[in-house]
């Protein structure tokens, strides 16, 4: 479960959960520190929302515990946990006005009315909805409803706030604004956030740490930089940032380095991180190379980059701020393209399709991922 420090607010795991024959979570463990912005990221059906609902208390795990503030809350109902949720579809109470929604939790706890009104005013000011107190929720826009849901959840000052794709229903521009606003709000309040999204860019923008989910497993947990710079699995490499993923055979090589043969052709030597363990020679691993780390040179240029592959320019797409270039570099697998990103419009001309080029990569930009089973 990792090192548990005094700063740890929430520990969950190892969670397993099935609905009927479908296994939703397999041995998921994670921890959230006080005041941390943690994002659960993954495609739909990956188990991130189920994990959130287990933390909130709406689902009970088949096995595994939920420890909140040092206390085992696994078997407690949602209303006995110091956790509030911002729901994907807001779930505002339509029979109450904005202030009534925000005050709901406080009134349940029989907080004196004077304090209720002071704290509701404060919370609505935080989400920039001052003056909306007596508006009916059905008269609000989506963004405003989201703010009411947020005010309702933070007014009770929980130690942990859960957010289930809260920006999913908003349009792109509003979503970008709300991302920054949410992040600022989280910093100001010092409340830990567990934030569920399928949008990797959103996760990168807002999170202190990201937990990447795939098919009910926690694939990797780390800071946005770690996830991007040192992906551990091909899913993480591809889902976050995009990557060229190849299968490679392990060859005998010196300690601290990996000698690999890419898809039966090119031989490369790349440095090995201390935590990385290679299968014995003859075994296979997956490797990833980010498109923006692949440099493309014409034959008459002087290439830099220690790993060089002869390749053929097959296609290029001009994207405005750069070009996406498709290269063929494996004679044995002409369909397996290497994608490169290059700045400017240098490769936007289509006259040179089919010409030989050199693709160059720095050894440290080749990420070694999980073992390749087949």
């Amino acid at each position: 479960m990792g090192a548990v420090t005094a700063e740890t607010l929430l520990e969950v795991g190892p969670l397993t959960k099935s609905f009927g024959a479908a296994t939703i979570l397999r041995d998921v463990s994670l921890d959230v520190r006080k005041g941390e912005f943690m994002t659960l990221l993954g495609p739909s059906g990956c188990g991130k929302t189920t994990t959130l609902r287990i933390i909130a208390g709406f689902e009970t795990p088949d096995s595994g515990r939920v420890i909140l503030g040092g206390r085992d809350v696994t078997d407690l109902p949602p209303y006995e946990r110091d956790v509030h949720t911002v729901f994907q579809h807001y779930a505002l109470f339509p029979h109450l006005d904005v202030a009534g929604n925000a005050a709901f939790g406080l009134r349940l706890r029989r907080v004196p009315e004077a304090e209720v009104s002071r704290r509701v005013t404060e919370a609505l000011a935080l989400v920039k909805l001052s003056g909306f107190e007596s508006r009916r929720v059905s008269s609000l826009s989506g963004g405003q409803m989201q703010r009411v849901a947020l005010a309702r959840a933070i007014v009770g000052r929980p130690s942990l706030l859960l957010l289930d794709e809260p920006l999913g229903a908003l349009d792109l521009k509003l979503r970008k604004e709300m991302q920054l606003e949410l992040k600022n709000l989280q910093r100001r309040l010092g409340i830990a956030f567990v934030y569920v999204t399928h949008d990797q860019e959103e996760a990168m923008t807002m999170s202190d740490r990201i937990a990447v989910f795939h098919q009910g497993r926690l694939e990797q947990l780390g800071t946005p930089g770690e996830i991007y710079e040192a992906p551990r699995t091909s899913f993480v490499a591809d889902f976050i940032g995009g990557a060229n993923i190849f299968s490679a055979e392990v060859l005998p090589g010196p300690a601290g380095q990996a000698r690999l043969r890419l898809e039966g052709e090119h031989e490369i030597v790349v440095p090995l991180d201390p935590h990385e363990v290679l299968p014995p020679p003859g075994g296979r691993v997956k490797v990833a190379i980010r498109p923006e780390r692949v440099k493309v040179f014409y034959k008459d240029e002087l290439p830099f980059g220690a790993l060089r592959f002869d390749a053929t320019l097959r296609d290029s797409i001009f994207l405005g701020d750069g070009c996406q270039i498709y290269l063929e570099f494996l004679a044995g697998a002409p369909d397996k393209r290497l994608v490169a990103m290059a700045g400017g419009d240098r490769y936007a001309v289509h006259d040179d399709l089919g010409v030989p080029v050199i693709a160059a990569v720095q050894p440290e930009d080749v990420y070694i991922l999980e073992r390749d089973g087949d």
Partner: protein, 262 residues
């Protein structure tokens, strides 16, 4: 769009077909004559006669009490049944249970009346007010269920209950603070419908009303044996007016419920 005279005439005829009998009845309730045929001038006296008729007023009171009891029972049972059908995790045969709740709407009331009569007699129940109220509640229940079930299903209620529980409400308080207030317009609307159905019920009441219990429809039917008097016209107009008031109230409640559902 081109105006069509034929269509206008058709509509006029249709509404005349629907409402002419009621209008004639209303007009003759103000006729200063014992027979309905000739107009002899305007009077309120039939309304006074009606109000002074002790038997008639007793029947009216009985019917109002009966309808109130039946509506209350139907609304309470209807709320519970709808909640189970909508909110409970899917259980085996849920659709079947729902259909069985609706079925009394389709069963011919004569069959229902005969069934109730033979059951009550065989089981040794007195054919008293209580028995009749229960029978009416049975007839009204499908209306109450239909109104409340639609409301519960459409208001995104399970998510709202989760939100309430997330904010610290137990299941019971979430129901009281969120589900019940949201369902209230539908509960009232279902109860009003049930009230109307019970109030105008004739067949089952006719089968089941024991000695000494006379509902208004039964009383009116027995009065008709002596012909249609202006007093009966007056009574019918009074009932008609209250029905329109109830209908208006119901429409207002539905509109309000619709405005709430975001």
């Amino acid at each position: 769009m081109k105006k069509s005279r034929g269509l206008g005439a058709y509509c006029a005829a249709l509404y005349a077909f629907l409402y002419a009998p009621l209008i004639v009845m209303t007009v003759y309730s103000f006729n200063d004559a014992h027979r309905n045929v000739v107009w002899r001038g305007f009077t309120f006296k039939w309304y006074l006669t009606m109000a002074r008729d002790a038997d008639l007023m007793r029947a009216l009171t009985t019917s109002l009490e009966l309808a109130a009891c039946a509506a209350a029972i139907a609304a309470a049972l209807g709320l519970l049944a709808s909640y189970a059908l909508v909110r409970h995790r899917p259980f085996r045969g849920r659709e079947g249970y729902a259909a069985l709740l609706d079925a009394p709407l389709m069963i011919p009331e004569v069959a229902l009346g005969v069934g109730l009569l033979s059951f009550l007699v065989r089981a040794g129940f007195e054919l008293d007010f209580g028995a009749l109220a229960c029978a009416h509640a049975l007839i009204c229940l499908p209306y109450a269920v239909a109104a409340v079930r639609a409301r519960l299903a459409s208001s995104g209620g399970s998510q709202l209950e989760e939100a309430a529980m997330d904010l610290g409400a137990s299941e019971w308080r979430a129901f009281l603070k969120v589900t019940l207030p949201l369902a209230m317009p539908a509960i009232v609307s279902g109860a009003l419908l049930a009230f109307t159905v019970s109030f105008e019920d004739f067949v089952a009441s006719f089968f089941l009303a024991g000695v000494g219990i006379t509902t208004l429809p039964i009383k009116v039917y027995s009065m008709l044996k002596f012909g249609v008097t202006p007093e009966i016209n007056a009574l019918s107009v009074a009932l008609l007016s209250s029905t329109f008031v109830l209908l208006g109230l119901n429409a207002w409640l539905s509109a309000r419920a619709g405005a709430d559902a975001a």
